[in-house]
């Protein structure tokens, strides 16, 4: 996985954590179980730093798509996008092997292969 994709995955995980920590219902549930959630601002600062490591165009794509999807960066299993569960053409793999960031032709999500 490229360093850009790794940074995007980290950003996506962090975004989910921040979103849940800011969700009053979810935060109350965790706090009632004894888990304090006082460090949201710290996570937001980490997010800013992480976002700066990502190519501007790639980041813009991620930000735009995250308004539509909870998971923008998804895995490919076999030849199937695990975001929309549609098959990918063989050419997509060649593109990924060439080191470019790959998008699902059906839903547009950013793909990663393991």
């Amino acid at each position: 996985m490229s360093s850009q994709l790794e940074a995007l995955v980290a950003l996506q995980d962090l975004d989910m954590m921040i979103r849940e920590a800011k969700d009053p219902e979810r935060a109350t549930q965790e706090e009632e179980l004894g888990f304090p959630l006082s460090g949201v601002e710290k996570l937001e600062r980490t997010r800013e730093r992480l976002a700066k490591q990502i190519d501007e165009r790639l980041l813009q794509t991620y930000e735009r798509m995250s308004r539509r999807y909870v998971r923008v960066v998804v895995a490919v299993a076999g030849r199937v996008c695990l975001g929309c569960f549609m098959g990918l053409p063989t050419a997509a793999k060649r593109k990924a092997e060439a080191g470019t960031v790959e998008n699902c032709e059906n839903c547009g999500r950013i793909l990663y292969r393991l």
Binding site: M1, D13, A21, R26, F35, L37, V40, V73, V74, L114
Partner: protein, 166 residues
């Protein structure tokens, strides 16, 4: 009369169901927070729960930055959802000497339940498991028995009894 899908969901919510012998560390080597997280994540990666250990470790560290999951009385429940997790899993680890984990009561942690889950829109089972863990270890005699249990099977039975008594 309950339908088949609701029975399946009920079974899946059992904490017991997610406790696997392969995901048990009887004695952690690490004594510090960061190293203990690293040791537990390495164990998860070894058992194919984490697709990339480094990414999972980072998200767990960020979760700790949000607030310590050391909830006191020698218990910590580190938990996070990550793109790099293939399936919901619970790792159980013990430390007889204790790990400095910035717990809310500043006591060393002797018992860890590390929960990881894939990044999905909603995962009510994840929260239910979190609640079940917290409730199952709320009594001091149960915590002591878990720490002194001879093997994983005995711990699983103890926890199962607590969850079943809810």
């Amino acid at each position: 009369m309950p339908t088949a899908p609701s029975i399946e969901l009920r079974n899946e919510t059992y904490l017991e169901h997610h406790l696997r012998p392969a995901l048990f560390i009887p004695e952690l080597k690490s004594k510090k927070k960061s190293a203990a997280l690293e040791e537990m994540v390495a164990h998860l990666a070894q058992h194919q729960v984490a697709r990339q250990a480094d990414a999972l470790l980072e998200v767990l560290r960020q979760r700790e930055a949000l607030g310590s999951t050391g909830i006191g009385k020698g218990i910590a429940v580190p938990h996070a959802r990550s793109t790099m997790v293939a399936e919901r899993a619970v790792l159980l680890a013990r430390s007889s000497k204790g790990v400095e984990f910035d717990a809310v009561d500043e006591s060393p942690v002797h018992l860890f339940f590390l929960i990881v889950a894939p990044l999905t829109e909603k995962d009510p089972i994840y929260l239910q498991m979190l609640a079940q863990i917290v409730r199952s270890v709320r009594l001091a005699p149960v915590r002591r028995k878990i720490l002194e249990a001879p093997d994983f099977a005995a711990i699983r039975t103890l926890i199962g009894a607590q969850v079943g008594n809810e």
